[in-house]
Symmetry: D2
Subunit: 356 residues, 4 copies
Amino acid sequence: MHIGILTGGGDCPGLNAVIRAVTLALINECGARVTGIERGFLGLLTRSVRPLGLREVQGILAQGGTILGTHNRCDPFHYFGADGADCSAQALAFARELGLDGLVVIGGDGTMSIAHRFEPLGLPVVGVPKTIDNDLAHTDRTFGFDSAVAVVAEALDRLETTARSHGRVMIAETMGRYAGWIALEGGMAGGADMILLPELPFSVEAVARLCAEREAGDGCTLICIAEGARAAGRELTVRATLADSPDPIRLGGVGQWLQQQLQPLLSSEVRTTLLGHVQRGGSPTPYDRVLATRFGYHAAQLVRRGEWGRMVTLHGEDCASVPLSEVAGKSRNVPLDHPLLAVARGLGVSLGEAHR
Amino acid sequence: MHIGILTGGGDCPGLNAVIRAVTLALINECGARVTGIERGFLGLLTRSVRPLGLREVQGILAQGGTILGTHNRCDPFHYFGADGADCSAQALAFARELGLDGLVVIGGDGTMSIAHRFEPLGLPVVGVPKTIDNDLAHTDRTFGFDSAVAVVAEALDRLETTARSHGRVMIAETMGRYAGWIALEGGMAGGADMILLPELPFSVEAVARLCAEREAGDGCTLICIAEGARAAGRELTVRATLADSPDPIRLGGVGQWLQQQLQPLLSSEVRTTLLGHVQRGGSPTPYDRVLATRFGYHAAQLVRRGEWGRMVTLHGEDCASVPLSEVAGKSRNVPLDHPLLAVARGLGVSLGEAHR
Amino acid sequence: MHIGILTGGGDCPGLNAVIRAVTLALINECGARVTGIERGFLGLLTRSVRPLGLREVQGILAQGGTILGTHNRCDPFHYFGADGADCSAQALAFARELGLDGLVVIGGDGTMSIAHRFEPLGLPVVGVPKTIDNDLAHTDRTFGFDSAVAVVAEALDRLETTARSHGRVMIAETMGRYAGWIALEGGMAGGADMILLPELPFSVEAVARLCAEREAGDGCTLICIAEGARAAGRELTVRATLADSPDPIRLGGVGQWLQQQLQPLLSSEVRTTLLGHVQRGGSPTPYDRVLATRFGYHAAQLVRRGEWGRMVTLHGEDCASVPLSEVAGKSRNVPLDHPLLAVARGLGVSLGEAHR
Amino acid sequence: MHIGILTGGGDCPGLNAVIRAVTLALINECGARVTGIERGFLGLLTRSVRPLGLREVQGILAQGGTILGTHNRCDPFHYFGADGADCSAQALAFARELGLDGLVVIGGDGTMSIAHRFEPLGLPVVGVPKTIDNDLAHTDRTFGFDSAVAVVAEALDRLETTARSHGRVMIAETMGRYAGWIALEGGMAGGADMILLPELPFSVEAVARLCAEREAGDGCTLICIAEGARAAGRELTVRATLADSPDPIRLGGVGQWLQQQLQPLLSSEVRTTLLGHVQRGGSPTPYDRVLATRFGYHAAQLVRRGEWGRMVTLHGEDCASVPLSEVAGKSRNVPLDHPLLAVARGLGVSLGEAHR
């Protein structure tokens, strides 16, 4: 048996742990030959591959990133060659030339969709879900999320000392364009006073009122805001035009926008930190290393049992799988009745709602 | 409503997060008065209590230990006063004097048993489970466990560089007298080559053989062993007598014992690290902060709804509860068919078994 | 003897370690009474003080921030009361009312200047230098700097995995408006490929050329840039006007500016992270805890020996002091012949210079 | 020019940073060819070498251990071949066969002595000092020390929460057989209440008295003890004989010994943690990465300038060097008048002295 592995989409702590687990399990349990495909599906077009053996995956468990490289946007079905045809046939031909019996694809929603299209063309696939946003419909948790939450919590720990020493309002903007999981769990773990999510439009007035109340009580305010959070009925994009260009531009993120809204209403200083890519790089937490290892092992079991066309999932403490056909385009936002929202409110953490 | 809180048993990261969540939720949602009882049940005898308000629990979320103090062995039913009677009546009288309507008790198996005996005497109780060992029968996870696993994984990361640089066998002994969860998850997260658990007696010969094989291949070996692990059919206690005392004494832990067994059989140097109490102290991981917060909030809900006599649990992603009467004396070992054992074997991690 | 302590200026890891050391040493060695003044010199106007004893400073060694609070801009010589006179007399009167024999002032350049003006008015002062920027003229190192460098290095570690996995250019903007010490040491510790400092104007063309070369060699580029770095002969401020306001605004920092310059010249994606306030909050590194403790102890010695009007310094491994009169307004940039610049160049780390 | 690099002696965080800096600087500045010799001087006997280029040293800056491997005891002048002659000639012959113009040797006292003996035989050497103990006579600091101190401080942070929650005496035993630097700086950084050093024999009675006083005041005690610390006039080694062997054995370390002495005298529980090898493994702190990089670069400069027979040193903020002939056998203990001892005493940290 000869199996290819590739990683697609954005960086995520735990990718190497999956690669290691898939490789070790396939070699140890199936005697398989394993080949790494570089930079996602792009490697099938550029013919960039390398063998993966025990030695190649040694010591990578705790390493961030992916030893195979990744690519955000390479979809062979949307790349077109000189003859006007898309490049999927070329990718497929190269997979056949390698003699691949199947592919283990580690990636997010987009990567899974591409993988799913190769199936009917004769390249069987097993998927491993990857998203630091934890917003996949069919699985309780995804690896990388715990690591991102840990980065946010550590940043809030640091910002809190400054906020308290100065009596300031500190805003930390986290990842999460559509789903607020990182901001919610990171904010709760970091002791935020206010958590603003994409799922729950906030009221600038309510936010300002709370900051002012805390200010009056000699306190500081720590706000954890997801990049996708929005004020109800307000447009975020401050239209700006550069002196030397007529095109309007985007001005920082929602954190900076909120700072601009709040500052005139408060006497405390307001400061914003944009956490950015540090949330998706670096060594995975031990929790994520174990989860990624379990996902990788489970993917190898699906391969071993010939259960192609499925993606690994987690339910409670157990790994399971779902058909790839059910995966595409389904994301999981924070439901408005999620228990952790009740916990937040019960502890006096504001969600920026107008009427509370 | 006036509620007391106490923490009993050994230290565990996340205790303060529970105290904070219980206190905030009881104050915010029930307008309750909250009193902290110091040093576990001992505080009911020594009359050591203090009020807990918003200010008292501010900033303790990320702190290790317990601001209330704890005590390993104080059981009022087994302390006897001058009059020959046990001290439970005295404890109860003090609780009445305080006007407590109930008690939130955070502790392990022993603490829950004591709490349960106060119930029929008219002091209603809600329990929050605490054990870094993760060996409670009725809950998937307990707070503190993730933090202990993280300490083990970080130690293995450090030991691995030395093991590899010197071509050594490094043994790390973790907590876990009866259950091997910490060694298993910590070992998997830290990339151990061998994991030895209380649940699965190991063969010294098998361990030595694997070390020798790796030695021959220019490799090093990282062994993660739970303090309760034992070699099949072998007695651990090397009987030693001191020059100035005829009593036999105990010689270090099982890690050091294993080192003594292995060293004569190998040419590599063997070294042992006993991780000890660093596994149960210090700031909780973000995961544990969220879990402990959820446990504390849920305990406050049980109080609010008058569901006394129950202990909080976690099933999958949801908090629930069980009657205290079902809790006592039930622990949860690593079952021999646990998926993570299969993962370990599949990845070539040895469990020290004789015939594999 | 009755001594006051205050902390002024921005937050900095290690402030609490200084407060603790000063307090413990004054109490243990001089039997002094110690009073904390809250929020810098502001506390002398608002009459906000609190006693500091052994109990108050227990457990604060490793805590970030300052338990006394701080204030960025309160200068009693520039605050004017209802009578038109500045508030220095009011501050002085309150210090006399408290019966203070002297003040230990922990702060930066601005705080030292204010402190120095109180001296001739009869309020003797000892200073402890504080700046995470490490840019003080009279001392080799200041506490907080090592902690800031550690935050930068950890962020670069994380960004590097993403940069390498995607083949990207990652820009990390650090603190350092005038002096590049944080970017230089943080960049060297984090393995940056390029370090851009305020002291050494860079060439956008040189930067782009190097990125392109690395891109061609399948590599990624990690750029560590101080907020005060500037391109030679180029104006940073992209003038922008908001749709609803005619005033030109500032657009992000130099990191984002550089990204805008580089992106059109490269095929790799360029991404920027603005580290911000996480660099000055949080628990100090062990190195900073020891240094801050030594500074605090040395300040107490100056008080004990009556050596007023001096600021603590570090030379090599030894603490010393200089007159406050020599301190004001003298900062220490990275000299262009600093050995670490030679190390950087020798290791192939680019400093963005045009002709290398 | 063709230069060999080797690492000898025990593991130490920062070795890879030195290897990287030496390699990059020799290649970039001298166009040299660089060869890594594996497992210390042993590699010269086993003919185990490998080329070091830009690619080989990429990404190793932050890695613990040494990519070249090391060996504790291989001294070619003390290995004897079949012909009865020592193996130094064999090592030398292989170095000539490789065409080495010189050797950069990274190691401790023992490694430097061996290196020094090769010099008159025609193999010129430059040395880079390595000891986590920081006890070298000619240099202010050595890399790896800051990392060891950080491990100790973090462990004390963790142990402190448990000590305080239980009202316990916690003993942490650190490395430092002859010199107490790690215990001293680690203890100060971790807020130890008592620090016991090899340089200053302690009094068990004084230690017990202080613990009892703190116990009486409801406090806990955190003791940081170097492995080489000894009680004045007391023999450490409890002679024990095993049931099945007549030979006396050693019983744990001085930490466990102290626990046995203290426990009968106190009502608090006493617990010991033996930090062990985690102190010398793992990723170096940012401080150590910069220091190791500077040492490595400076070694390359000595090679470039032909200043053979010297070892790199640090004085204050500057790198310098001393002749290897002056290095051998000179170690640097904590002098009894060291400023940090005065700081400790001034802050009320006990050094276990009888008459204080």
